[in-house]
Symmetry: C2
Subunit: 565 residues, 2 copies
Amino acid sequence: MALRARVLYDFTSENPGELSVKESEVLTLYSEQDIEGWLEGANGRGERGLFPASYVEILRSDNSCRTSADTFADSRYSNVQSSGFDGTFQQPPVEPFPKSSSGLSTFSVPLTQASDDDWDDDWDDSSTVADEPVGGRYHEGNGPSTYRVSTSTGSRGNAQHAKSSATVSRNLNRFSTFVKSGGEAFVLGEAAGFVKDGDKICVVMGQYGPEWQENPYPFTCAIDDPTKQTKFKGMKSYISYKLTPTHTQNAVNRRYKHFDWLYARLVEKFPVISVPHIPEKQATGRFEEDFISKRRKGLMWWMNHMTSHPVLARCDVFQHFLTCNSADEKAWKQGKRKAEKDDMVGANFFLTISPPAAPLDFQEVESKVDGFKTFSKRMDDSTLQLNATVSEFARKQMSGFKKEYQKVGMSFKFLSQAFEMDQQAYSAGLNHAISFTGDTYEAIGEYFSEQPSRDLDPVMDLLALYQGHLANYPDIIHVQKGALTKVKESQKHVEEGKMDRAQADGISDRCNIISYATLAEIQHFHQIRVRDFKAQMQHYLQQQIAFFQKITGKLEEALQKYDSA
Amino acid sequence: MALRARVLYDFTSENPGELSVKESEVLTLYSEQDIEGWLEGANGRGERGLFPASYVEILRSDNSCRTSADTFADSRYSNVQSSGFDGTFQQPPVEPFPKSSSGLSTFSVPLTQASDDDWDDDWDDSSTVADEPVGGRYHEGNGPSTYRVSTSTGSRGNAQHAKSSATVSRNLNRFSTFVKSGGEAFVLGEAAGFVKDGDKICVVMGQYGPEWQENPYPFTCAIDDPTKQTKFKGMKSYISYKLTPTHTQNAVNRRYKHFDWLYARLVEKFPVISVPHIPEKQATGRFEEDFISKRRKGLMWWMNHMTSHPVLARCDVFQHFLTCNSADEKAWKQGKRKAEKDDMVGANFFLTISPPAAPLDFQEVESKVDGFKTFSKRMDDSTLQLNATVSEFARKQMSGFKKEYQKVGMSFKFLSQAFEMDQQAYSAGLNHAISFTGDTYEAIGEYFSEQPSRDLDPVMDLLALYQGHLANYPDIIHVQKGALTKVKESQKHVEEGKMDRAQADGISDRCNIISYATLAEIQHFHQIRVRDFKAQMQHYLQQQIAFFQKITGKLEEALQKYDSA
């Protein structure tokens, strides 16, 4: 039987040799092996060509299928991760939220036809670790890059064993975010661990719904101008940033690799919290002033988001990072080891969450989460557009606008030079004034070219940061939706007498916790978004006002020259 | 013998079929007949092609030559005349001041090798009336379009007769400005007429040299918004301008054709005065608001220059134009006839000039006039460049600048629309503020597109007016230089015993009058130039300041919206 594949997303050929394909279309494959992400095949009309491997699912005789949807989604976020902080955005794939795969789930009768069930795609042997995003969420971490769950039985990743341990079956796709995050294990009651009082994370009911309990000891952290350091007698150079948290007032020195390590720990630990992306890595030009200043700004934005988050700001690994004496190698290593051995990560993180007493109405939760999904898509589109516009506006000011004003300035100066040949003493004042006006317009041209670094660059930094957050949310929503689906499944099983009510109630309770955490995180997102965009818009307008006032002042100075002309 | 031509100016071929030629190069012509201004010929290397007829002089066996230099110069001024007031300038020919022709003058031994002796080129039969500028100085005048000289003998245009009446011979080129203006006839003592006291025009010695005696009764004249009038029961429409001179306070109505008629009278009457050009004619769209407003502005500039000029402001024909009751047909026609029969025009105009007692040092005059020539060339170049820059700057503001600000505005609005989907009550203020900021940037885009009409257009109007003046000066300088050459010739003749001293002194006295008038006119030019450019630069800067303040105000308004956000 010929190897076949079903098309998941429309693809339009853009180059010779490519084949345009339509969603749901079934193609004949020439080989299962992709060539740098492309598969070769033919459609029903016999047209032959290449199409992206990630746009199709390979159909097998046993009805199981392989989808690259997760990879597809993840790779997008790693795109944002890798390009988000340099202000250049790539066009996102047409479908930022992966569509449902049409392959059958492990349940023969799916409870919902919801569009978010791709988390329970079958696990396919042909998936390899290479499918995982590289440099994305799990880049350069010291810990294992797959999920870590402390289950009560101690069994890990054994599908047969897992199936026997719960009536609601486990997802066999070990790359599903729901699985990776530990969300599934937690919902199924497999997470267990001792939660110290200090580790408790409270979700409370606020004015606008569930929210993270405020940090009772709020603080901020300054990042001072980085300095170039050397070690091994100058053989190795690196940039060191001086961090001064307000709650200790003790400065510590950190390198980019420390930020990077911390980021990996946080991503691993918090499944439904949007950890802000750190500025991208850069291999060359690491010691160039422009880059260093850009990265410092990026790290400041990152730090601001870290200290603003009630959960992230207080977590041990972050506190260790902020407060451990940089000279004390031993203490640093101790803290590092402790963080890497932290049990309360992934599935166990949910154990630390203490929700309000009243359980949530899941239907309301679903509606809220769907609303947020729509919102975040729109916000993603509009920030992308704004970024493109603003970036072009900056470029225009630095090139075209500058040039126009300077050309006017030069023409005025040329006129004043002609006037200087008039041999008339009484026109000297005018000639000087016109020459000064020429200088003024040349200066205004310069102002235009300098301005974007003052007002538009910060706007672009903000947009980049939020592009990163928006890229995190599909995973967060995914985990919440996965939990909700397990609840629905368990209720069905109870109705069918396949599961006892206590077990279903446990699933529901744990879904309640995930839902509280998700809603608290969404609430936090809205709050910092309103705060950040308000502050940045104010900053932008203030800078613009100062800019136009500076121009006005310069023009007034020029005008005065004519008083004595 | 083959027909040959000597190259007067370098010409670089820009199209296939054209031939690059160098100044002084001698070419072989295929025909004397030009094809739409181009001649065909070959150079010494046998290369064949087309070159502009005006860039060469045809060499004849009798050593006489024909040059198109006068035509070339004149046609340029008519270019300025025709295009100067609509703000679009054509690139001037490479050499605005015609170079000297290398043909011999009527004198076998030229007294000077000065570069300005082209005014006494031989009269060539092949020159036709068509060589005269069309629509330029002499367009649509009712009087004769060639020179009018009241000579003492009553002989006109008869070269033989003229030659016999004076030892210093007449220029035979009836199209020479020196001849046309009446300058030659005056210098040769052929002008005669009764000058009434009221017609006397005094040149006095001012602080900076000779100047026109100030108008003891200075006045200005307002031009009100024109209205559309009809006559012949609506069969014929025209635009009527209401003029209100400050010295009578009586409003009169005038049409464009009246301005046109007046202009022709003034040009005919005043040989060494730069009569400001009136706005160009326009056949279509005469009743369109934009055009009417543009023409009114042009006429206001014109009027300002007329009333500012001590001689033009006081002359009878202008006063008739300003004061004659528009309803009194009879009085108007009487004044019109009187102006057209005015004897004190051209050569006789110089009779009305009353110079200071001390005669000028002609060498100093020559140096001053040469200095002004250099100055006016530079001013011409720089106003041309400024006009091009400013015109492009206006275009950019109305297109590119506007578009950029509006795109930013739209992107902000798009963001606020996305934010409105957040279902969070506390962000309504922010959403509104961002939306308002979007409107603000769209408004700023509009401001940019509206601004040029407020500040750059008046600058362009000023430049156009001065382009017109600068185009007049070559003729004025030409007349003065012609007179000076006659003086040199007469001195030579005296030395050679061919002329008696009294006759030479008469020529010198009359050249003195022309020189006083020329220097007074140059002085006037500098004074109004300084006044006009000072006022216009101040106006421009004031408008620019107001513009940037308006933007600042709008941005401040937007910023305030965030206070309650």
